[in-house]
Symmetry: C2
Subunit: 477 residues, 2 copies
């Protein structure tokens, strides 16, 4: 019965991306739905993937001087409302605790939708002098936002993320920090997850509640929609004034600090599933694959050579990659399908003939190419193959992104391109919020990021007023 | 001003343990109080300590076949109430979400006080066959219990912990798992944290709500009170029946699984603070010290030899230990006090005379002993010194535990020993709940763990009825 369940095919990725996505999430055993509305369970395979992604970010945060810490889950309403724009942005999405220890509370407690309010409050106690700056703290935690429609990883009521919160003595240092972290997000997305992104500033409509400027990385999904995969915010002195984050500067003057925050969530997993997956299921970038290699022994009745060789192979590989030896009782064919569904970058098959010839058969998940490798070369060859897979996934995804990015400078081409719903449209833009809302009403697309200033004399591709910037437009998740 | 704050003395540990403890938690910058009732912020130094403790547990969980996963924070009331004893035990401590997305919810959602209910619900979906067993999953997460009195680490509304949840085909395998994890808890407490514990089964009064049997490790604090530092529970089929966790066995019969859970929280940090700390502040066991070595350069005006030597020392040590070079502008004396307060196991001082003689001065935090080491021997000598510190802390704490554990076999000695409130009293006991409640009423002490069966013919030290077991009694945190 288990065998049947696994073999049942999933929709083709090109036929029904949405159903394909859901099926891959479930069948690869990354997640499961739960009886808690909008909340998923991250199963061991999904959590292992998340742990590896976390580790890639975390080591880069630490290398740039950041420290992890932990702040309370529950935020009293009176703290949350101190920054007016911030609370206005988040209030509709808040889950409220109103009862505790058998009693009605006198003040509602928000489950953190993000932690600027509580962290700002603590920073006002911890920072007195310029010597205390910069404060560079990150928190890995769960947050809750009361979303209506939900999808595994992409949008869930509760999600896991990291939120960095920093305080600086000057606006310039804060601006530098925001770019530094955005660049780390780009680096992990592109170099580790092999998922190309565009990077830039958000429009006024799209920026974080309470921010002076929001920057983001955005990936392009196969249905032509953008996926925001990481954001980095400059707050100016908005939050330091709201939460009283002051310091005595070198010149003995008491000043408000400049704060930033930046976050990446498990949403990025949704991005890599859609970017790399295929009709057989998940395709994982090697750097974050819980198993980089799955060894499938092909046993014939009476043969006693295969298992010892497979065990030796596993032991050899274990020192260079994350490897599993699949010694379950199911058939090799069933195992092939399962490890393909679960996206393991390399499958190594070993049967009696391979043992006799002192070779193994290696199958790449990304191309499904088979090759034969001498047994003694495996430990040297496998890491190189994993690197080839990473490079190949990155190149393929980059090609897709480029192929689905068009430039439009006049209204007809701009509207037509957006209505095709086929990716990014890069266009000169006036930067007016009203113009963006008009574009959205007509095409369902908005700006994703602002790439830079417009060329001299350019006019807005949509409204014809003078263009200030070049912006990427697309529909989005 | 900062200098003044740091130098201000804390109460002596022997004079006022409670105030000493609070001051050490704050002054060592492990935690801070927050405006959220009963909730603390874990500051970077405290979080780094927690991360190192987590890593010690986590690698042992993984080595014994467990995988991490993540389940929802919010648990619908209808799920929580399925196991009657369980909900009765936890209901008074639950924080309830009653509003979300601007609306009153039709069903209250509990913030998890522990996750048996939601994990059991998911397991009933994931387990069909004996081939799916055992399921060995662990979760690192936050939980909320609505406590009245709170203390940093020891008792807080929200705390960080891990909870392992496993399912087995037989009672014997479940029992084995419970002991295996308890032994891992003992090993980390004693061998890594240098904190000796007693280990055993809990009495009926003291066991987890819904468990068939609870086992625990308990450490002894300097005020003679026991601190429960880890628990491991056998649930029999209670939870599998409540949450419908069934499997088809080899014999084709459908059976209920046997479940377990086991947990350790950041409370164990409270234990190690009280166990090892002294009048100068925190004393950290080397294995989990965020910095194992602090280098304090002693600069004289005009000297240009010390800083380069200190940097070289830092670079040399960085490959073998976690080291920080304190190049701040404060005086060496201020830095000595600060690193003592923060419990760094070894301080390395280097001044112009040291540089001239090609030596450094090393000060052990545990004994405050100074020694001089040739510069070139530092990388070899420091790890050995750290191991000496671990062994010495463990031996000292073991001696304390032994010195404060007495055996009592008759009522007068038993009651007198418990009223002295000076540690563990090991005594033959009848194992009756009524007897334990009487003992509590008279002495404030209860059983901490049951060590084993009574000797033949022994009677209960308190009530004189036939003794079934030998139990450790003490007051507790």
């Amino acid at each position: 019965m288990q065998e049947k369940k696994q073999v049942k095919s999933i929709p083709r990725k090109g036929d029904d991306l949405s159903e394909w996505y859901t099926q891959v999430c479930l069948r690869a055993q990354l997640v499961d739905y739960t009886p808690v509305r909008g909340c998923i369970a991250l199963r061991p395979y999904g959590f292992a993937l998340w742990e590896l992604i976390q580790a890639e970010f975390d080591k880069r945060f630490k290398a740039t001087g950041h420290h992890n810490a932990y702040f309370p889950l529950l935020i009293p309403e009176s703290l949350l409302i101190k920054e007016a724009e911030h609370v206005e942005g988040f209030a509709p999405e808040v889950a409220w605790v109103t009862q505790g220890g058998g009693e009605e509370l006198t003040e509602r407690l928000a489950i953190r939708p993000t932690s600027e309010a509580i962290i700002g409050t603590m920073y006002s106690r911890w920072i007195q002098s310029h010597r205390d700056l910069p404060v560079l703290i990150n928190q890995w935690c769960n947050v809750v936002r009361w979303e209506k429609a939900t999808r595994p990883f992409l949008r869930t009521l509760e999600f896991l993320w990291q939120e960095g919160h920093t305080v600086h003595a000057s606006e310039a240092e804060a601006a530098e920090e925001v770019q530094r972290m955005l660049e780390i997000y780009r680096e992990v997305a592109e170099d580790v997850l092999a998922m190309p992104v565009i990077k830039g500033r958000k429009s006024e409509n799209e920026r974080f509640a309470g921010a002076v400027a929001t920057y983001a990385i955005e990936a392009l999904m196969p249905d032509g929609k953008a996926l925001q995969a990481g954001t980095s915010h400059e707050f100016g002195q908005n939050f330091s004034k709201a939460y009283d984050i002051k310091f005595t500067d070198v010149d003995e003057q008491v000043k408000f600090g400049y704060t930033t925050s930046w976050g990446v969530s498990w949403r990025i997993i949704g991005g890599l599933i859609m970017t790399h997956g295929d009709d057989r299921g998940l395709v994982l970038p090697p750097a974050v694959a819980p198993y980089q290699v799955a060894i499938v022994p092909i046993m014939k009745t009476g043969d006693e050579t295969v298992m010892p060789a497979a065990v030796q192979l596993r032991n050899t590989l274990a020192s260079v990659v994350r490897v599993t030896l699949d010694d379950r009782e199911q058939s090799p064919g069933w195992k092939f399908s399962e490890w393909e569904m679960r996206g393991v970058p390399l499958r190594v098959e070993i049967g009696p003939r391979d043992v006799a010839q002192n070779v193994v058969t290696v199958v790449r998940r990304d191309t499904l190419e088979k090759s034969t490798i001498p047994f003694d070369d495996v430990a040297a060859r496998v890491p190189a193959l994993l690197e080839e897979i990473r490079a190949s996934l990155a190149a393929r995804a980059r090609k897709e992104l480029d192929a689905h990015t068009v430039v439009a400078t006049d209204r007809a081409a701009f509207v037509e391109a957006l209505k095709r719903q086929d990716g990014f449209v890069l266009a000169p833009w006036c930067e007016r919020s009203e113009c963006e809302l008009d574009i959205k009403a007509e095409t369902s697309a908005v700006t994703r990021v602002i790439a830079g200033p417009a060329d001299p004399g350019q006019v807005c591709a949509y409204c014809g007023k003078p263009a200030k910037v070049k912006a990427y437009f697309a529909r989005s998740y």
